[in-house]
């Protein structure tokens, strides 16, 4: 049976791992390569690296860091942050990334998803969607969740799937940093609607939150950052717990 995936996310700024609360205040949580190795050995199923300053500062994700990470671990990892051209994807894949995530650039130029999927295959194209509920309607936000768009989250999710995305990384900006649990409702809605895997992100604060996002939220994978970085929830413990709760996990 295919297992549900636990994915620590390493937000990168200036080559270091950071995690913001609601994406604003940043705290230093260590060396990304070292962290990656620890997570890989602890049983993380995949890793995600997001260069969170990349879009804002118009910088490219550091291919050098990707190369170092690829040498240190032997589980799959995704790299995102400021990816905006087919060439960007090529550079990162060649540096050793398994998947690339795009966000703002896809909203700006949706055809990019088609181009990237055609060139490299859907399996390595993750479209990240930051969503926020505004007066009862879910809207896509870009630029680290700061810039609202007129796109409805559900419609955009459907479109990126049709354009060839291999996976969706759905972050609820309302839940991110709150530790109050994942946004199970919209995650389930999108997971039911689409034929590609959905990674839920934003709001993890306890082990039952993970159980809930897999059972009620129908997520294929769950992503979290600070609770892993600050060792609030050790991954082996989380996986044991999920196993006992009947969620299929790789132990």
């Amino acid at each position: 049976m295919l297992t549900k995936r636990i994915i620590p996310c390493l937000d990168i700024k200036d080559g270091r791992t950071v995690k913001g609360v609601n994406f604003v205040q940043l705290r230093d949580a260590g060396d990304p390569v070292e962290l990656a190795k620890i997570y890989s050995d602890q049983g993380a199923d995949e890793l995600v690296f997001l260069d969170i300053t990349a879009t804002v500062d118009k910088r490219k994700t550091l291919a050098e860091l990707v190369t170092k990470v690829a040498k240190a671990i032997n589980i799959p990892f995704t790299v995102g942050g400021g990816v905006s051209t087919v060439e960007d994807v090529k550079v990162l894949l060649n540096a050793g990334a398994d998947k690339i995530s795009i966000n703002s650039a896809a909203v700006k130029q949706p055809g990019l998803i088609n181009d990237m999927a055609l060139e490299f295959g859907s399996q390595c194209i993750v479209v990240a969607i930051d969503t926020r509920n505004v007066d009862g309607i879910d809207f896509v936000h870009t630029h680290g969740g700061r810039k609202p768009t007129l796109l409805k989250t559900q419609e955009w999710a459907k479109e990126v799937c049709e354009r060839g995305a291999g996976e969706i990384l759905l972050t609820s900006m309302d839940h991110d940093g709150t530790k109050s649990g994942f946004a199970n409702e919209i995650t389930a809605e999108i997971s039911y609607m689409l034929s590609i895997p959905v990674i839920a992100s934003g709001g993890a604060g306890s082990m039952p939150h993970f159980r809930d996002v897999f059972t009620f939220g129908k997520a294929d994978a769950a992503l979290a950052a600070s609770i892993f970085h600050f060792k609030e929830i050790p991954i082996p413990e989380l996986k044991n717990y999920l196993g006992q709760e009947g969620v299929p996990v790789r132990i």
Binding site: M1, L2, T3, K4, R5, S40, D45, T67, A70, K71, N74, I75, P76, L93, N94, A95, G96, A97, D98, L118, F120, G121, S122, Q123, C124, G166, E167, S191, Y192, M193, L194, S195, I196, P197, V198, K218, D220, A221, R250
Partner: protein, 209 residues
């Protein structure tokens, strides 16, 4: 002595080979990444990686004039030959993904996963899944039906000869997750991304073939 074997990873522009090199290095083996006919011809073992589109892969192999040397090493000289993911798929005769003929090293066809939305089975088949062993093989020494590997693919191999099937994996149906026929091996999963189980599989391929 095995440490001195020449392992060649065929570089034909189809995806991430860094992780394979790293894993071989971790195990104490050197590898050569090449698309040079002479180097491939002199290899002791060959790894054919690959991620991406079936026809694109075959086109690249044609452009690099590698068809002949692949046939020579895989079929005539019978060098241990390991295809990974798309590398496994292009070893087959044909694929629903494309129109071009495969390398036809093995009697098999590649099909697309097709499930209805109600099944809640997502394509690509992405993540960690089990293998179910169909026959004995040195490749699977120290591995068993509890071994989990990392998969990411939308198409799967259908072998014409039941005897070629090495392992099956369940995802909506039981499909061929690896085959082995004489010196020819194909694995649908990514051993280079499969942590300790992947390390064991590579170790077996390097030491027991």
């Amino acid at each position: 002595m095995k440490q001195n074997q020449q392992v060649v990873i065929i570089d034909y522009g189809m995806g991430n080979i860094g992780s394979i090199i790293n894993m071989l290095k971790f195990l104490g083996y050197k590898s050569v990444v090449s698309n040079d006919e002479t180097i491939i011809k002199n290899a002791d073992k060959i790894i054919l990686p690959g991620v991406g589109h079936f026809d694109h892969a075959i086109e690249n192999i044609q452009k690099l004039h590698l068809l002949e040397v692949i046939n020579e090493t895989a079929i005539i000289k019978k060098k241990p030959f390991l295809g990974i993911c798309l590398g496994m798929q292009i070893m087959c005769q044909s694929s629903e993904e494309g129109e071009l003929s495969g390398l036809s090293l093995i009697d098999a066809h590649v099909k697309k996963f097709s499930f209805n939305l109600q099944s809640n089975l997502k394509v690509p088949h992405m993540g960690w899944n089990l293998i179910s062993i169909s026959k004995d093989s040195n490749l699977l020494d120290s591995l068993d039906n509890n071994s989990r590997f990392y998969f990411v693919h939308s198409y799967y191999v259908q072998c014409k000869n039941e005897g070629d099937i090495l392992t099956k994996t369940n995802f909506g149906l039981d499909y061929v997750s690896s085959f082995e026929k004489d010196n020819l091996i194909g694995v649908q999963f990514h051993p280079e991304k499969s942590h300790r189980f992947g390390i064991t599989l590579f170790k077996n391929f390097l030491e027991k073939y």
